[in-house]
Amino acid sequence: MTSYIPLSLVELALASILIVVNGAISVAYGLRLEKSLAVASLRMVLQLGIVAMALKFIFAQTNPLWTLLFVTVMAVATIAEVIMRQERRLKGWRALSLSASPAFLAGLVTTLVALLLIQPQPWYAPRFLLPILGMLVGNSLSGVALVLDTITGAASRERRVIEARLALGATRHQAFEDILRRGLRTGLMPVLNGMAAAGIVSLPGMMTGQILAGVDPVEAAKYQIMIMFLIAGATAIGVVAGGFAAVHLLTDDRHRLRLDRLTAPSD
């Protein structure tokens, strides 16, 4: 089990040639993607480099406060990312963080479940906690961003229908039931598709990583199966909480539709 082969910077540089091919295609066909491509590649390298150094540092510490700091930064970054992905955003910090925080909280709760299952020593060992939290929050984030975007978009497009239902005496939940259902489906679809395709169409990233690191494929698959269940759980919790939060924030206690709480569409 010692088949792990370290990479040198030379090999990384060689791999980056493939990005240049990408850029060449963009120039040849006038896609004008070369700038975004360069920025995205550079961001990816920098982000992964910084996070790797941060993790290395934290793993070397014994004080759990460093882990807590990293988790806090992740929480802020998650909420910011969910907000950035909205075409029409809720106004005000309170509403924004209320609607986006399920993405992080759902990941956090399911991470604690994972730690209960894996039982690392100590339970907050950053080598287990941080990668699992990152994976769960990342998936939950996509789901929550989708459900929020679906609901705010549908609410502004279908304003008249919602108000017609309210006028007939529907509660805000009844008036939003179709839209909420659509939002939940949209938010959960990527995870369901991902589970269905895992292993056939794609080998999940974590399993690939473990196999490359020399772990027995069967052991890697076991880990992957557990993570898949946790991802599904984190996404479901985040999507449902985010969906209900969106309906609540877009209406008031007099069951009125409050589109004035949304900003104008961006772009």
Partner: protein
Amino acid sequence: MLRVDKLVVAPLPPLSFTVANGECLAVEGPSGSGKSRLLRAIADLEEARGHVFLDGAERSEMRAPSWRRLVRYAATEPMWWTETARAAFPAPTSTARSQVSSALAALLADLALDASLLDKPVSDLSTGERQRLAFARAVIDGPRVLLLDEPTNGLDAASQARVEILIQRELKAGRSVVLASHDSSQIDRLADARLQLARPATLPRATLAADATLPPRGMTQ
């Protein structure tokens, strides 16, 4: 009796009026003068300062959905969100189910609508059929006050007459009606009182002229 007390629908001045049982108040005014917004504010669909009472009970004393079952707003352009019209009718309580269905059948007959239209795809219905079905939907569960926003918009003369007869029947049954209409002869036929909404005179002319070049604010008709 519907009583509106200092209801503020900006930019209109605070409005106070009462509409007795069996009485019809017509709200007149040019497009964009706030007729729809006034009706929506009474139904509590739009936030507005001031008070609205039904038989002495203030609307904040009851849950908003209960208020809107008693004080029913019917928009100019009816909305249908289900495959068939029937599914978008208010669900009757189980005890009243058979009574409602016979009342609905009678109501549709009075509107010259075949009951089979209820189970056809809404997209197959004509504009006039959808408009008349929406009127039936607005009155079938017996609201006490009807806030009708141009209820005969897009109807031919015969259908318009049928709807007006039904409005008069609701009035005879003791309902209060607030009618927003562009049609002065319709107002003559139905209304007991009139409320004229004008563009607010307090705004300087320059502001009004500048406004005219901007897209209309809020609701327009």
